[in-house]
Every structure is written in C-alpha cells, then in structure tokens.
Subunit: 405 residues, 2 copies
Amino acid sequence: MRKPKIVILGAGYGGLMVATRLQKSVGTNEAEIVLVNKNDYHYETTWLHEASAGTLHHDRVRYDIKDVIDRNKVEFVQGTALEIKTEEKKVILESGEIDYDYLVVSLGAEPETFGIKGLKEHAFSIVNVNAARQIREHIEYQFATYNTDAEKKDERLTIVVGGAGFTGIEFLGELANRVPELCKEYDVDYHKVKIICVEAAPMVLPGFDPELVNYAVSHLEKKGVQFMIGTAIKEATPEGIIVGKGEDEVEEIKAATVVWAAGVRGNSIIENSGIEAMRGRVKVQPDLRAPGHDNLFIIGDCSLIINEEINRPYPPTAQIAMQQGEVCARNITALIRNKTELETFTPDIKGTVCSLGEHDAIGVAFGKKMVGTKASFMKKMIDNRALYMVGGPSLVLKKGKFNVL
Amino acid sequence: MRKPKIVILGAGYGGLMVATRLQKSVGTNEAEIVLVNKNDYHYETTWLHEASAGTLHHDRVRYDIKDVIDRNKVEFVQGTALEIKTEEKKVILESGEIDYDYLVVSLGAEPETFGIKGLKEHAFSIVNVNAARQIREHIEYQFATYNTDAEKKDERLTIVVGGAGFTGIEFLGELANRVPELCKEYDVDYHKVKIICVEAAPMVLPGFDPELVNYAVSHLEKKGVQFMIGTAIKEATPEGIIVGKGEDEVEEIKAATVVWAAGVRGNSIIENSGIEAMRGRVKVQPDLRAPGHDNLFIIGDCSLIINEEINRPYPPTAQIAMQQGEVCARNITALIRNKTELETFTPDIKGTVCSLGEHDAIGVAFGKKMVGTKASFMKKMIDNRALYMVGGPSLVLKKGKFNVL
C-alpha cells in the first residue's frame, strides 16, 4: 500500500507548526511529509517591523528551516507555489510540480491595497525579510543623501505610515526610536524629520481598549509621531501621497518614504486555484478543511474564522495560526489513520500585546490590561513562546529576546 | 597698533597644520588667528574610500576641530567660503564676510570630470563625509533591493570605479573586502556581483614601481575585480556608463553604482576669485605665496609644486599639504614679525603606500619596496602619523588605527 503524501505549503507560523507536530505524531511508515517554502528560512512575521525600522537585524528575525525539522521525517523543498490543482491533487511550483494526498495551505498574507492608485508602485509593505531590509536601507539612504543635496529636500526626511492598526503602530514605535539614531549617524537635524501616520478609519488600533489606545497615541506623539486619523490616502505618487481633506479637497504630503501597513489579505494563490474565498481568505470548516475539499486544510492568514461573540472574523495572527497548526496536524494524523472524527478548532486568545518600541508596549494578557515595561516584557515572552513552540528551548536561546531593559 | 589678522580657509590636512603650528608659535598679542571651515569637524580625506565602501565607519574618519585647536588663540568660524576679494583683502562667505591681513587657502580638491557627459549627475565622487556615507548607503540599497525586484536586475550588483589611480585602487581594495559581507547581509549570490575598474590611461597606478603594480592588480583580480585598462568613459547615464571600444565603437556597461575616482582639481573658488591657476591649482612661489600676492598663501591640493627631477607636478597628497602647512605657519610668523626672508618649501617624500583593503598594501617607504602585511602596517603608521602631527598622542589614541591583523 502506498503511503499517503502530506504536503505543507509555507513555513510560516502555521506551516512550521504542522510540520514539527506531524514529525512527532506520524511514523515514517505511515506517511510521507513534504514541506515547501520559498526560502530556506522561516521568518518571524510579527517581528518584521523591527527589521524594517532597523532596530533589530533581519538575521535575528529568521532561522533556517532545517534547524527545526527532522529531515528523516520531513522532506524540505525550496520552491514557490503558483497554483493548486485540487482535482488532480497537485501543486504547480515555479519549477516543477508536486502531488499530494493531503494538502495544508499555510501561505500567509499579502498586502491589501484596496485598489488605491500608486500604492503598489510607490509604497513599501512590511511583507518579508527582503522587503524589511529594503525599507531599512531606503530610509537610511534618504538620510544619507539629505546633506549631499545642493538644495536640501526636507521631504527626504518624511516617513508616512499608512495605517494605525497593529502593524502600523508597532512600526511607528520602532521608527520613533530609530530616528534619533539616524539623525546622529547622518548629521541630520532631528526637527526636520517627520513621521506621519495616516489612517482612514476614525480610530487607532480598533478593537483595543480605549485607555490603552490613548497611552499608545500619547507615547508616540511625545516621540514626534503625527497622527492624521480619519484621513484616507487617495493616491501614492513618486513624490509622496495625496490624502482626502474634507468633502472634495485633497492635500499632497511630500514624503520620500511611504510604508503601507493598513491591511492584509490572503495569498492570491487561493483565488488563482478557484477556491472560494473573500480577499484570499477561506471560511474554513470547524476542522480547518476548505468547504467541499476533504483533503485540503487551510490555516493561518488564508483562513477565516468567525468570532461568534461579536460575529466578526478574528484578525489573522500568529497566535491563531499556531493553534490551527496543532489542530491541523492532529486532524491529518487522524485521517491517515482512517479515523473519521476530526477535532474542531476554537481559538484560545491568551492575550494581545502591541509594542511601542523596544521598551514600551500596551496590551491585554490573561485578562489583564498592561502598559510600559510590564507589557513590553510580556511581548517578549510572547515572541519567545512562538520560538519555543516550533523549536524548543534551543531555538529560544538562539533567537529569543532577553534584553528586558 | 592693530594686530594683524590671519585667516585660514579650510581645516583639512594643510589648514589644520597651519592653525595648530600658529597657535604655538604666535602670541595672542601678536596676531588674531581665524580658522574657517564648512563643517565643525576635520575628516581624513585619505581614509574616505574606507567609509565609502563601508569598511570603516565615517565617525572613525573625522574629529571635532575644537578638539585640536586652542580656542584662546584661534577663533573658529563655521562657514563656506565663496570668493576671495584679494584687492579688498576679504573673503565672502555663504553668510557674511571676513577680512584678513594674511590669508591661507587650504580648501582642498574637487573632482575633475574632464567634461565627460553625465558624470556629475550620475556618478558619485569620494569627496567628503557626506558623499562617503551616501556611496556606502547607495551600494547597500542596491543589494537590499536586488531580491525584492520581481525580475532580478543583475546591474544592481555592478559597481564601476572610474580610475585606476591611487584613490581608485584603494577604494577597489575596500570594495573587494566589503562585497562578500554585503552578499551575506542581503542573501545575494557572490557570483552575480561585478566590480569593474575602468581606466583611460594604459596603466594602473602611474608612477608606481611595475612590480608593485602587478602585485596590486593580481591581488584585486583574485578578489574579483575586473580591470578595463586603456578604456575611456565616454558618458555616464542613469543606467551605467558608455565606454570607447576600439576606434569608433562604444559599449554600454550597465551599473547601478558608478564612482568617479579618476582625478581631482583645485577648489573652484581659486578661479572664481580671479587668481591665475591651472585646473584650480596655483603654481605657488617657493615660499608658498601666490604670484603677485604677498599676503596670500596657497597650500595643499590648490597649490601646484613642480618635481624638478621629472619636471612634472607632484600629485597632491596629504603628506605634501602637511609639510606645506608647517612652512606656511613659519613664513606667516616671520611676516608678522616683519622679517623679509621667507623659507622655501621643498617636499620631503618619506614614502607612498597604497592600501589594498585592510590587511594588504603596496608601497615604498624609506626607499624600500614593500607589499602585504608589512606595507599594510606601514600604511597605518602613516595614517596615525597624520593624526599625531595635528593632535598629538591623544588624537592618535582616539582615532588611530591599531588593528594590525
């Protein structure tokens, strides 16, 4: 009898969780396990804002996949998935193809630009390691160039962050800490630098406790961040952005750096493969399978789970992706052992902490609101826990965050 | 009786030497001494290639002028000189003007582009700290961007250095060491990187011993540098350069980074002020005064001294500028004491060492040819000596180079 073949697409939080759990639960005789990922490394998506601002080196944000998988159990294929042929049970890669009996799609998110003109061309997005270090270097280059211009262009020192959600706020926190260092490095007058957060919604950090939001905003404002709330970006141009002002008016904000952090959507491979989705996110069944596909699991940012309490989707987070990964691994193990009863996934939100730079944060953990160093410490514990879940104590020691103050 | 006012324009090797020698030799009652410089720091022009390649931080390459001048004796004015009005004995600054009785012009060199089209717009020059860190950041940004391009552009990884003279070769040595680090930092395949040296003259390092030149070329070639000797740059474009090939043909070399290191000329203020000069360099009298101006000394890269042995001008170097500074200070001291006999300047070339990266070099010192670590050590001694001459042992300890291997 042929061994069933389990293919996992993507080595993010969810995919690595599936792979590391399956390599423990499934015997080599029971199934073949293949992990496919674009890079030979995993990166901590939730730490990319630090690498983008330049406050944490990008090598601290990634680790080799081979360090955490058991290569006797899991075959690693470096490749980029282009399309899933569900009828033929195979995945088309950029080079070659791969067939499967069970497929896990854990491909993460893409930036959602909501059709805003010029954003794709003229704005950066904090999407991966390549993008993060490009943003870091782009900002540094603007500072480095400022003093070489015959006529000083202050817009070189203007950084616009689109979006006051989780990623936007965390990135602003790092930027606010980084800018004084950049000013020193490149002999730039701190008062010439502008960091502007433009948010279309009428609020910062929707879903967060208002007291915590106030703390975050006043912390960032004290560090020089300007907030333009309830202000929509109409267009991004080579010179900056154009925002709506009042009913019909628009205003140009000149900025050499525009970082779009206002939204994500599921991976476009989902739609390219004809799987029903909303903005690339599939409303999965309780057992994490795509509706109508009994061998296709979708987890992480490409899945959509409804929070019944408020009847809204849970925002995609690493926390949920990892919890889904564990359930997904158990359900696949059950399936290859011909069990029909699959486990139902229910998110267990232990807490949410939004960092405001290295030594400050706001958040709720174990039902308690917290700010400042306490919240910042909790954030580092959350970051270290993600490492621990995938790679155990050795990975925490290697890549963990310990600089508490 | 009014005290004579000595104004020194420029705090490079020559200018600082004049200032630090005058503050020792001249009493506060004898003369007023003013040092004018664009920045409040001095930088080691001969180390800028390291800061440009990113192998030495630019803060290691500069120090505060106030750390080496005696402010009871020398007044420091931060300003940019635009024109010298010799008849009126005053200097026009970007803001304000300053009158003098004795003027020392020690303003250093500017890049000489020989009218080659596009060079000023599209090529970098290693001229000062601002330019050096811009070059460093520009190169880093190209590497950082390489992996984010949907279609990889290998020309992002091509660096053209125009000129195989002293600066060109020293910069190539640093680049060759830096590129493997950049490849690691940005996950770039080393074999995709090209470092090309384009030199119009039929030789590398003219004036150097052929055996040493061979050592340098083969060292750099081993590290991946391609030499295109006897090849003239016809034009620089936003995409790279166009070089002559054979009689009438041209060839395009696509390169995101073009650094022009093929020639310098004196400061253009010389011509703007109606002082007779060749490419901004004034053939000074033996006592270092400009012909026809008995209160105007010109030293360093704006002066031109003929090497009688070969009937050619000495190339402008820090060594000569500093020696001129000492003589200039003694001659001014003599003049304010109403002595008429001035000292004649004769260069005393102690040696010339061209570095090939941190741990290798070629050169001649005290009449001996040397290569490798010995030459590299000698280079560091020369660099440290320049610090010692201006700021004594404390400046050497603060800014010196000691990492011998």
